[in-house]
Symmetry: C2
Subunit: 345 residues, 2 copies
């Protein structure tokens, strides 16, 4: 079997991890867990020459300066597709598919997730590639461990070789629905990781979103750059309507499959999720940088310099970054995106 081509998607600004993540220094490119950035870790996972080809990295033009040196530290021969604007995942994956041989199997991976078990990831990738080679559109199904309302859910159907047929997608259910999914079983989270045969993805995109597919083809045909780094034509790309691969393709197609991926996955979607992935100290807190917790548990301090003391508070996160200080209840971590200042920086 030929090698899988990793397609690393560097979109999103990660405003809910403000102030550490900023528009000018976004989430994939900062070390949040350990010394590696999430982007570096995403490349690490696909850095096995037995299984994977060199990656294709789709990145916004503002972030190329982060992505290129970090990629060079991990892998040789990475290709870069530089988007002048973000147009969500359906166009991004289509650009990458145009850059490949139609029979290449691509594995589209967000660059801003945490995966604890690299072996499980690679086994799932192999399972997915097998199905993708037979013209299935394959999603990674992440073991659902809590009734999260911020994720998409995939309903598992009948056995299908190395995976399962997908019976349906439910995007961001309410709490009661999510709880029912967990109680019923047979549901997995949609981790946003997909395996496709490049040519089949383009044909399915053309079937369900013909205008979008044609616009991407035009933007690719009129691209600027060389084989290693190129940009879609600016005006043609600007004309494309942003749409996710889930809405544009997965939810419409018939040959949709999933593979089980129990790999310790997290999208590190907010400070609470990040705190959950860090080790606590003997007092039940997490202290990165100079800090102290008095009479508190489940509290995280993450300071880039200033001394932080938290007194008499459980389950809060305090982040100091440059000239900004965030104090947030872990329960309210999703609301960080509503801080005025984090929209501008």
């Amino acid at each position: 079997m030929s090698k899988i081509v990793p397609v690393i998607l560097c979109g999103g600004s990660g405003t809910r991890l403000w102030p550490r993540s900023r528009v000018t220094r976004p989430k994939p490119f900062i070390p949040l867990l350990g010394r590696r950035t999430l982007f570096e870790a995403a490349l690490d996972r696909c850095n096995d020459p037995q299984q994977f080809a060199a990656p294709v990295i789709v990145v916004g033009e503002g972030h190329l300066a982060f992505a290129r040196p970090q990629a060079a530290g991990v892998t040789q021969g990475a290709r870069f597709i530089v988007e002048p604007f973000g147009r969500n995942t359906a166009p991004a994956i289509a650009l990458a598919a145009h850059a490949l041989d139609p029979d290449d199997v691509m594995l589209a991976c967000p660059s801003d997730q945490h995966v604890a078990d690299m072996g499980a990831f690679r086994r799932a990738a192999a399972d997915a590639a097998t199905l993708a080679g037979d013209d299935w559109l394959v999603a990674f199904g992440i073991e659902a461990t809590a009734p999260e309302t911020g994720y998409g859910y995939i309903r598992r159907g009948e056995r299908l070789g190395t995976g399962f047929r997908v019976e349906g997608f439910t995007e961001k259910p309410d709490r009661a629905t999510a709880q029912a999914f967990l109680a019923q079983g047979g549901y997995a989270w949609n981790g946003g990781i997909f395996a496709f045969r490049a040519g089949y993805y383009l044909s399915e995109l053309a079937r369900y979103r013909p205008e979008l597919a044609a616009q991407v083809a035009t933007a690719h045909r009129q691209r600027e750059g060389d084989g290693m780094t190129w940009c879609p034509q600016r005006e043609a790309f600007a004309a494309i309507a942003a749409e996710s691969v889930d809405y544009a393709v997965m939810e419409n197609a018939t040959r949709v499959a999933m593979v089980d991926a129990a790999m310790g996955w997290s999208d590190i979607g907010n400070w609470d999720a990040l705190a959950s992935r860090r080790e606590t100290d003997a007092g039940g807190n997490i202290i990165v940088g100079p800090g102290e917790v008095v009479d508190g548990r489940g509290t995280m301090i993450d300071s880039d310099g200033p001394n932080v003391a938290v007194v008499g508070l459980d389950n809060v996160v305090v982040v100091v970054d440059g000239n900004d200080v965030l104090v947030v209840s872990r329960d309210a971590a999703q609301a960080v995106g509503r801080v005025t200042r984090c929209k501008n920086q």
Copy 2:
């Protein structure tokens, strides 16, 4: 009637208001409410030449550099007694008494309190001075408005001219006792403000603490400096056992009186008390410096520069001062003194 001599006592480092208050920049000398420091406001209250003589300021040698210029901005002719070490209030008031004529009435005032109603303060001072002139040891009785466990309580006895006889003191009662005091009525908080005839205070101190009184007399006799600024002799002062005027004198003496002082008093003993004295904005929060509260009420941000965002938390205080950040539940404000770093700075 002769003028009252204000004796302003600058003791205590105010560690519970860390990080704004520090050992090297203590609570009385920083602006906490409005533009005036608490020390300046204490001098303001006694700055009526009809009622008050020039003040005597008792100050630790590390704080003279703060006290002298601030006093010069308010009043002329202030005298300074510079303590080489803190020995609590009984010795401090005795040093001041030695510097006065025995028939002078002195009004000993902490320098780190907030008084909202200056007129009420001056009326209480006049009432207290009348009794002190008749050789009563007179305490200011602050209207007790809550079952505070951190204060001393004074039991009001029979009418005595401009005040009342004191039937007893209870230092820092437990919550149930404090609640019972409020329910019964007849109890006031001990505000730490006292009026004495100087000679009578020294004679009562000699009666109940003869050794302490003799040590202070020695330290005063061997003083260094001039009439406007002097220090008690260092070794002699060092030998004195620290003791409060409450324990050394007030709780032992028989001619003890109080005056009612309903003057909007607060000792600004911690960040919760300080927040309670500041005005809230339309959202029910207090924001000093660049800050924002998302989904919270009763929260105070006080930043000397960095931007602070508080998300999803009620009733917390966030203080940024130089290289230090404090985050504290208002309920736990007393525990700030337990932060390791605040002991060293």
